[in-house]
Amino acid sequence: MRHEISILIIGLFVVLSTASITAGILSMRAPKPLSPTLVNLTQRINAWWVMVALMTVAFFFGRYGMTILFALISFAALREFVTLTHSRRSDHWVLLGMFGIVIPFQYWLVWTAWYGLFVIFIPVYCFLLMPAITALHGDTERFLERVSAQQWAIMISVYCVSHVPALLTLNVPGFEGRNLLLVAFLIIVVQGSDVLQYIFGKLFGKHRFSPNVSPSKTWEGLIGGLVASSLLGALLSFITPFSPLQASAVAFVACTMGFLGGLVASAIKRDQGVKDWGHLIEGHGGMLDRTDSLVFAAPIFFHIVRYFWTV
């Protein structure tokens, strides 16, 4: 596995360096003051350096690193989601429980690989108990809206996100001890697809995909991004249990889900009247702005691998 990880790190380093150099040359040639797009591009690339560095460190700590990193990502994402939605004073204990009980417990289930409870803890137990607690408080004002928002918040920020480190618990015959590479594959392909859609959209984008929801998504960006990231998936098949053809198919499904995740996230932001979820990552917005695609891709990717590749 060392060998594959070294190749990935070198590859990412080359890609990011190329991006930084390109952005540097563009900025040098461009008239001053720089256009907001160019400033934002540089910020985004710089943030990518930091994110890749953090991921790499987490990788070296293996299962510990991944579980802790994604628990923290869930924390940041949940905080952004709950901040944006309506809550009342009587929701205080439910909200505290989401941060103080649901996140630690869900990641403990990931850690202990207790699959049976991991998949139903949030969609069954939390789904039923959280509104029960809210009802017991007796405050019925905008009840359905409040409990729905809470449910969505933990499904998106905790349940879906926790499927990324849960990949480490899968038992793929002939792939033992190398599950970290599945995590790397998913993240590189899905985040790569975001970047590729951005690039194709900026270069060739003409026809808006869904002007009501997200003005920045175009058909050209979508198609170019999906084709390119499927190719990227095939290229990365050497780190997976998949054949090149299978890898590109899996990448295609994951990236399509990722695209839909971005679309749904945009719809929620639009509904709440904000542009970004937060300001945690310079140039990108909040944690959910960066992970919305991963959130939708991770559970599907997890179940595809589990259904077709595990015993």
Partner: protein
């Protein structure tokens, strides 16, 4: 106080102040939005909306370390002076200044206490609503703000809108819910020549309200 005790005391205050600011950031990711004023080492009175015990911690977390060391929050002695522990937390750890709503002597007069802090060249954080507000409306301001400004026109009055803190730590709760918070610092407000007390307080209140970034809500 002996030299060692004094040093320990200063160390305690620095550690608490850095620790609390770090905690405020970890829980709320607090960000200052300077809209109308800039960070400065000028002597100032920061006045803010008040919904939670966490308010002044959040506000001071937005100031630089040196500013924080010479900025004192004004707190109610009725609450913070009730027990030894509370008084220790308020005065020694958080270096806030206690004033009493039911003062008896001239030395206990809230305005004299606040003016004596200003005389040392320090800044203040005050909550002109006078109490933690549990309603959605900003309460009418008490006259302290006007009196302070008349006595010390050289000190800038900065309105500060603290966002979301009523959801993070509502009155009566002691465990905070992690939610993102911002503190919006507005342009300084000053008493105009000949301006009457009520008119000024109303104007200061509106200046603070204008910083609320929430769009008009239906709740």
């Amino acid at each position: 106080m002996s030299k060692l005790a004094l040093r320990t005391y200063t160390l305690l205050q620095t550690v608490t102040s850095v620790g609390l600011s770090a905690m405020a950031w970890a829980v709320t990711g607090v960000r200052p939005i300077w809209s109308g004023s800039q960070p400065s080492d000028r002597q100032r009175i920061y006045f803010a909306n008040h919904t939670s015990h966490g308010d002044f911690i959040l506000l001071s977390a937005c100031l630089s370390e040196t500013e924080r060391a010479k900025t004192h929050a004004i707190a109610a002695a009725e609450y913070w002076g009730k027990s030894r522990l509370r008084r220790f937390i308020a005065e020694d750890m958080l270096s806030s200044v206690l004033i009493s709503r039911t003062w008896t002597s001239e030395a206990e007069h809230p305005i004299s206490i606040m003016l004596s802090v200003l005389e040392q060249g320090h800044s203040l954080i005050i909550f002109p609503e006078g109490t933690r507000n549990t309603s959605d409306e900003l309460l009418p301001f008490r006259s302290g703000l006007y009196n302070l400004s008349m006595a010390r026109p050289d000190v800038e009055l900065i309105p500060c809108w603290i966002e979301n803190m009523s959801r993070v730590l509502p009155k009566g709760q002691f465990l905070p819910v992690p939610l993102l918070c911002r503190v919006v610092f507005g342009a300084p407000v000053a008493v105009a020549p000949g301006e009457e007390r009520r008119a000024f307080l109303q104007r200061a209140r509106e200046a603070l309200l204008a910083l609320d970034p929430r769009p008009d809500r239906d709740d």
